[in-house]
């Protein structure tokens, strides 16, 4: 029920001190079920070997990563793809992302983000499909199909995650992590439908959220995770917390300490603890003192194991560790062609016909003798494209 961030030079010597050593020891003791941000077949194989060969029950690890818009070959950001309205292309984009990610050892992506958002000031608008619930729902389904494919036991399909459950896109004043306070109509008609559709489409995991929803943090929100997701919608996969979202309940003033974080999160249905260290430190004690029922723990563990079985990791824990595949598929030229195609479809063009703003002509733009201001620090920043560092030379900036 614990997920740790990648923490040391995996194929190098074992860490001798500090936090890295502590985490490494936890992996070797079998206290970790999943890691994130570990990629590359050599790294994944090494860690998986520890889990499978050196630990008593040999339960394979999940390897999660934010494969959001392509893996190495980058596609347009999700909001850009949404502007294409082209579900087939969006599914293909996710499919190629899964092919590259799985070739790099990853078996679980923290995508798609199916949060509906209507405040342009929110810092994560670009990771979702925009403001419309219907379109966002359709796009969420397309992405899940692309990531998970038709056969989860194949070596090029990965588990998807519907996130962030729920209400993350409605942060007050668009300030990330801020309080969310919305009515039931917004919850049921705008926020929840894309998640329900994701569950119906077979998404394997759901990620909860940093925010408080109507007074209760999503991570400790029994109404969302148990009543709606698991009971009403009959979701059989597992819920992972967002990075440290359990621990952040202390800052929210909802939990007094990490011990209570473990109790509240587990009881509310947050099955896997990403980077809060609450379960690893206190869950056993919570069960022994009767604050968390062992049946609750068993249910969470079953859900996590179910995903590992469905991915075929018990049949072949190294199914994503083929170095030849990795070499062949990462930055495969066919993927770049597909990315360019989706990029073209994502571009939104303005009609260059006469428009006036406050009585002054804005359009049409002149073909000659027209100056256009490109404003902001990112206009000339090639590194902002995240994983595309290696491709920076190929990026054409708007003002060039």
């Amino acid at each position: 029920m614990n997920q740790y961030n990648g923490f040391w030079e995996i194929t190098g010597p074992a860490p001798a001190a500090g936090d890295a050593k502590k985490k490494y020891d936890h992996v070797r003791k079998g206290l970790v079920g999943a890691v994130l941000n570990v990629k590359g077949t050599a790294n994944v194989r090494r860690l998986q070997e520890i889990a499978v060969k050196e630990i008593r029950l040999g339960i394979p690890l999940l390897f999660g990563y934010d494969v959001v818009h392509g893996h190495k070959t980058l596609f347009p950001i999700p909001l850009g793809e949404a502007a294409s309205w082209d579900l087939e292309s969006i599914e293909r984009s996710a499919r190629i992302a899964a092919i590259e990610a799985s070739a790099a050892g990853i078996n679980w992506t923290f995508a798609p983000m199916v949060d509906i958002s209507r405040d342009a000031r929110w810092g994560r608008v670009m990771e979702g499909a925009g403001e419309d619930t219907y379109l966002g729902t359709k796009i969420g389904i397309a992405r899940i199909k692309g990531f998970q494919g038709d056969d989860l036991s194949a070596n090029n399909t990965i588990a998807a995650t519907a996130k962030h459950f729920a209400g993350y896109g409605f942060a007050e004043a668009g300030r990330d992590y801020n309080t969310v306070d919305v009515g039931t109509s917004t919850i049921y008609n705008i926020i929840l439908p894309p998640f329900k559709a994701a569950v119906d489409a077979g998404v394997l995991t759901v990620m909860n959220s940093f925010n408080i929803l109507n007074g209760i943090p999503a991570t400790a929100n029994r109404f969302l995770q148990r009543d709606i997701l698991k009971d009403k919608w009959d979701f059989k996969g597992f819920v992972v917390s967002d990075w440290g979202s359990g621990m952040e309940m202390i800052d929210h003033g909802f939990a007094k300490d990490l011990e209570q974080v473990a109790e509240l999160s587990a009881n509310a249905g947050s099955d896997m603890d990403m980077e809060s260290y609450a379960y690893v430190a206190y869950l056993k004690e919570m069960v022994e003192t009767g604050k968390v029922d062992i049946k609750t723990v068993d249910d969470a563990v079953k859900r996590i194991l179910r995903v590992k079985f469905k991915l075929g990791l018990f049949d072949d824990p190294y199914k994503y560790c083929d170095a030849a595949f990795e070499k062949e598929l990462i930055y495969n030229p066919a993927h770049a062609v597909a990315a360019l195609d989706v990029a073209k479809k994502s571009i939104v063009l303005l009609k260059n016909t006469p428009v006036k703003i406050n009585g002054r002509p804005l359009l049409p733009l002149k073909k000659k003798q027209q100056k256009i201001a490109v404003i902001g620090a990112l206009a000339d920043d090639k590194t902002v494209h995240s994983e595309a560092g290696a491709l920076a030379a190929m990026i054409i900036l708007p003002f060039r």
Partner: protein, 52 residues
Amino acid sequence: MIKMISKITRLAAFAFLLTLQFAVQAQNNIKEPFTIEDKIKALLQKMTLEEK
């Protein structure tokens, strides 16, 4: 004498076929172990609280 041997042979063959049929039936009656849910249950039983 020949008649007797033939009778015994036929009886033996019948007994053998009967046994074979029971064996096949018994084999088929064994539940296919091991749906994913069965495997999860089995694994869960082996896990200590700490390992969970």
